[in-house]
Amino acid sequence: MQLFLQQIINGLLLGGMFALMSIGLSMVFGIMKTVNFAYGALYMVGGYAAYWSAELLGLSLLPALICAFLIMFAVGAVIEIIGFGQFRGNDDASLIFGLGLSLVLKGGAVLAWGSQNRFIGDNSAPAIELGPFIVPYARMTAGIASLALIGLIYLLIARTGLGRTFRAVADNAERAQLLGIDPRLINVAVFGFGTAIAAVACVLLTPVYSLSPAVDDTALFTAFTVVILGGLGSIAGCLVAGLILGVIYTLSFAYLISNVAPIVPLLVLILTLILRPQGLFGQKERLA
């Protein structure tokens, strides 16, 4: 029983990390309705932005994280202006642009930075013992950061003037324009912010997973699964779906044979698409 409870704790911590990985993607989709297949690659590049900030400028983790946030905000904004923004309304072109960008970024990362695993600063942190249970420090930090970040994004969108502007554009860009809001500017800001959030997630998860060009696949797959399960664009759905998926993933690897375990999260994804395509917190869209 103790081991089972430990696995539940592991699953919840992992779920928090899954949610953290997915917030940026969910936000960009929720507000801009853009399916960003370059999300995993941008997540990975964000990690390298922090890594090289730390290496070249001698920064510790927090200043490196802030650097990565700013750099990736700018990168996201530029990508929106010269890329996704040009294809708005053309889903096929957006999708192909995202996939192409992802391949270029990943290949470029291998060529430019090599594929060895990297760490930002000293990642050795002892596990915390809570009675009979063990909580790895890095996972706990990532879990708390995930909750904090989700809370902040929720407050930003639901309780601030800027958030109202975001929601107005999400609801009806043309009507928002009539009110004097520039939807292009909002899209640039949202895409930049979503990309910067992805970078923050990657930096916070580096002490757990390390950093290499290969992390983009995991991030993309995880983020899409969480966002589809939680409901496209739902911030709360992101958290709940992350936690559910984290527990399912952990229990699968703990109690099923290794060949079967990786399939279980995929089954959850397929079942969601069949039984509740709008996700747990998504709303059904009317066709007419």
Binding site: L3, K106, R118, P207, A214
Partner: protein, 460 residues
Amino acid sequence: MSVYFKSYNRRAVLRGGAMLGGLTLSTALGSRVANAAFDTTFAPEGKIAVGTILPLSGGFTVVSQPWIHSIKYAIDEVNAAGGIKVGGETYQVENVIGDEQYSAAGGISAFKKMAADGVHYTAGYVSVEAPAAVQGINERSNAMMITGITGKDLIMTNNKLRFYEFAVAQATAPYHALYAFNELGIRRAASIELTNTWGTDFHLAFARTFEELGGEVVNRSYLEASQTDFSAQVSKMVAAKSEMLYIIMGDGPASAAALQARNGGLADIPLFAEGAWGPETFQDAGGAKNVDGTVYQGSRPYVFWSDKHSELSRKLNEDTDLYLNNWFWHGYDSTKIVLWAMEEANSLDPREVIEAIPVVAEKRRDELMIRPEGAIATANKGVFLKIPLWQSRFDASADFLNESCLVPVGGEQYQGLPGWMPENWAGYTSDPKDESVNWYPTLNEIEAMRKDAGETRMPL
């Protein structure tokens, strides 16, 4: 005039004749082109082609880059020394590179392209899947496969044109068990292995000897090559009170498994490792703390440093920003052995060249960095190089550019331990599915076999 001929005038007949002539000419040319594509000589255009099949993208490039370069450096050295002299002719060697993609599909696609281009020697293959797929067709294409990834279901299948250039799990993993039990006093072991024949062989070969000695494997876990989270497995190891962790996987997943074990409640227990572990695994401060002191078996050039190392190390670092690792030595000497075997056999035909490999391994031993103790020629499974290994521990503080990152440990029996199974092992003549064969003999059983085979080198 008949209705059938009335539309044919002289111009039409001439046009038809021209078309027929063109068709005949193009058929003749096409046939020549086709013949060129399936050239049966072994040195098309006067050059010997050696193909390298390794991942060119993705996470495994960190492993494959040194390997790719080691094959190239070996070829460059042979060319610089005058090339390969066979049948009164001197041949230069060219290196062709294909993308394995760490998959069966990638490996087979790269191999087929090379075979169609007249390449009869292919080296590399870092995954289990790619060589498993290729070895169904390499014999039919009369192409030698130079490979070093162990696993009975991979290397014990019939393949007369396989040159196996590294140690086998059955021979080496028992020494980990001996070292853990006798030298470190470990009684409860946990292991995490890649779910394929490579991982299975290392685990079972370790477990049989460890259990015979009186130890217990308290947790056996598995991982997938793409897996990133190991918290579920680590918690089970903690709960089982494991005193050591044997990580049977290299590169990214291994690094992540070590990190998560260290931060997940297994902070102080010894780590043992197989696969791609090298300077690239721990060149950052964080990585160093995770894997410093990990027990690993290295080949001679991975453990001992020479002037040649300094030369190769600088070159590799300039070309790739990486360091000499275990995988570099997979490619460097084995390529030279094959090229020298062509001279020894006085032939470029892989079927004759492979028979000369054992002779070269003995005759030119001192010119090889790995110092093989000969090679075993089997009836149907190709040739297996006899490579000695050193039980060692990683020193993460080493200057990777100028010194080895491995420090030998243990007594005399761990130094130059035999990485091959004795010639009388039934595995060399049996089908890997044959359950009557002792596929994972204990160290005592292997010792008895070596005695029966008359091997002079007695490790215990």
